[in-house]
C-alpha cells in the first residue's frame, strides 16, 4: 500500500504511519499510513463507520476529547510528532484547523466569530490588526461582500451556507497550515455546496486540505488525491482521477460504482 501516490513531491505536510485507533476494545482504525501534501485537497471516502472521520480527527488530536479513545502509531506535522508530550494541543489545533459537518458558529457577532481565534492566540496586537485579519479571513472565505455591512449581527442569523463559510473564515483566521473538513456540505443545499467547493478550490494553494465526504461526486470534483477507507482499513490511496476512472482495488470499485454491500 502506497502512503503517497506520487513520489516526486517534497516532504509531506502531514504523515501518518501505522496508526491504530481504539474506542475501548473496539478497533476503529487499523494500521493506516498516509501522507497529506501541501497545496492539495485530499478526500477521504468510504461507507459510514469505515473510520474516515475517526482518522481525520487523529490529525489534530480531536480524539483526545473522546474519553475512551486511544491512538497508537506515529503522526507528524512537518516532521514533528503531534502526539509528543511537548506538543501544545491548542497550538496544534491552530495549525491544523477543523470545519465540522454542521455549521457551528459561536452565538456571537460575525466579527467576534472570526476575531476570537486570533485574539486568544495573540495574533493581533491592535484593534486595526484584528480588523484586518477579520476582513482578510472573510474575504478568503468568500463571505465578505455578503456580511461587511452587518458584522455586528449574530453569526447564527446567517443562512446555513453562510454559517459554514463563517466557520471556514474562523478556521482561516488563525493562519493554519492544514484544514480538516468533516463533511462540510452535508447540511447545505446545492448552491451553498457549490460555493464551498469553489472556496476549497481557491484555498488549496495556501493550505493542505483534507475533506471527509459521503458525496463521491464532491470528492471527484474538489480533490486531487482520494483515500478509500473500509472497515477501518485504508484500502486504496491514489490520484483522484484514477480512483474514479480506474481503481486498482475491487472494494474501491464496488463502492464508487454503487455495488457496495
Amino acid at each position: 500500500m502506497n502512503h503517497s501516490p506520487t513520489s516526486d513531491t517534497a516532504a509531506p505536510k502531514m504523515s501518518a504511519r501505522d496508526v491504530n485507533v481504539f474506542y475501548g476494545d473496539k478497533q476503529a482504525i487499523k494500521d493506516v499510513s498516509i501522507d497529506v501534501d501541501m497545496d492539495r485537497v485530499t478526500a477521504f471516502i468510504g461507507p459510514s463507520g469505515c473510520g474516515k472521520s475517526t482518522f481525520l480527527r487523529t490529525l489534530n488530536r480531536m480524539n483526545d476529547t473522546v474519553g475512551n479513545a486511544r491512538v497508537t502509531g506515529d503522526i507528524r506535522l512537518d516532521g514533528e510528532d503531534i502526539y509528543d508530550k511537548s506538543m501544545d494541543v491548542v497550538q496544534l489545533r491552530a495549525r491544523v484547523g477543523m470545519v465540522f459537518q454542521k455549521p457551528n458558529p459561536f452565538p456571537k457577532s460575525i466579527f467576534e466569530n472570526v476575531a476570537y481565534g486570533p485574539r486568544i492566540h495573540g495574533l493581533a496586537p491592535s484593534r486595526a490588526d484584528l480588523e484586518a485579519i477579520v476582513e482578510r479571513s472573510l474575504r478568503r472565505a468568500g463571505l465578505w461582500e455578503e456580511v461587511k455591512d452587518r458584522l455586528s449581527d449574530s453569526g447564527t442569523a446567517l443562512s446555513g451556507g453562510q454559517q459554514q463559510r463563517l466557520c471556514i473564515a474562523r478556521a482561516i483566521a488563525v493562519d493554519p497550515e492544514v484544514i480538516l473538513m468533516d463533511e462540510p456540505c452535508s447540511a447545505l443545499d446545492p448552491i451553498a455546496t457549490a460555493k464551498i467547493e469553489e472556496l476549497i478550490h481557491e484555498l488549496r494553494g495556501r493550505y493542505a486540505i483534507v475533506i471527509v465526504t459521503h458525496n463521491m461526486q464532491q470528492a471527484a470534483r474538489v480533490s486531487q488525491r482520494t483515500a478509500f477507507f473500509h472497515l477501518g482499513n485504508l484500502v486504496e490511496y491514489g490520484v483522484t482521477s484514477e480512483i474514479f476512472t480506474n481503481p486498482r482495488q475491487e472494494r474501491t470499485k464496488d463502492y464508487i460504482t454503487g455495488r457496495y454491500g
Partner: protein, 232 residues
Amino acid sequence: MPTGHEHTVKAFDEEIGHLRALISQMGGLAEQGISDAMLALQRNDPTLAKEVRTADAKIDAIQAEVERLVVRVIALRAPMADDLREVVAALKIAAVVERIGDYAKNIAKRVPMIHQGEDRIEAVSLLPAMAQMASDMVHDVLDAFSARNAEAAVAVCERDRALDDFYDSIFRTLVTFMVENPRTIGQVAHLLFVAKNLERIGDHATNVAEMVYFAATGRYLADREPAEPSDL
C-alpha cells in the same frame, strides 16, 4: 473485470443491460448487412441489395437510441470506474458500428454496377471468404464487449493483419484480371472498392477492440504492435 455484483440501484443495472442489448442488436444488423450485401453480389440479386440499404436506416436509428441512453445514464446515474468506461465505450462503439453498416450499404450499392454488361466476373468468387473474415471480426469483437473480455478483444486485433494480407492478395489478383480482361475494368474497379470496404471494416473492428480493451481494463492497448497499414 466483471464482479458479478449488482448495483444497489437496480434500475442502473437495467439501463446498462439495455445499452448492451442495443449494441448487440446493432452488431447483429451490421453483420447481416455484410452477409446480405455479399450474397446479393454473388447472386446478382438487386432486391436483396436494396434491402441492405433500407436495413441500414435501422442501424442509424439504434445508434441514435444509444446516444440518448448514454447521455441519460451519465446525467442521472453519474457512472464511475468500469461503469463509466463501459458507457463511454458503448457510445463510441455505436458510432463505429454505424460506419460498418455504411460500408455494407456501399457494397450493396455497387451490385448493379458490377453485374452490368455481358461478362460474368469470376473474380467475384474471391470476395466472400474475405467478407466472412471481416464479419467474424465484427461479431467476435462485439461478443468481447458483451463479455468484457479484454483477451478476446486482443485476439480480434491480431486478426486484422491477416485481413490486410487478404486484401493485398485480392488487389493483385483483380489488377491481373483487369489487365487480362480490359473490357471488365469498369466492373472490376467496383469490386476493388468492395474489397477495400471489407478491409476498412476490419480496421473498424480493430478500433472497437481497442475500446473494449480500455473499457475492460482501464489501460490502453498502446503497446500492441500496430498492423502494417495497407498502402494500396
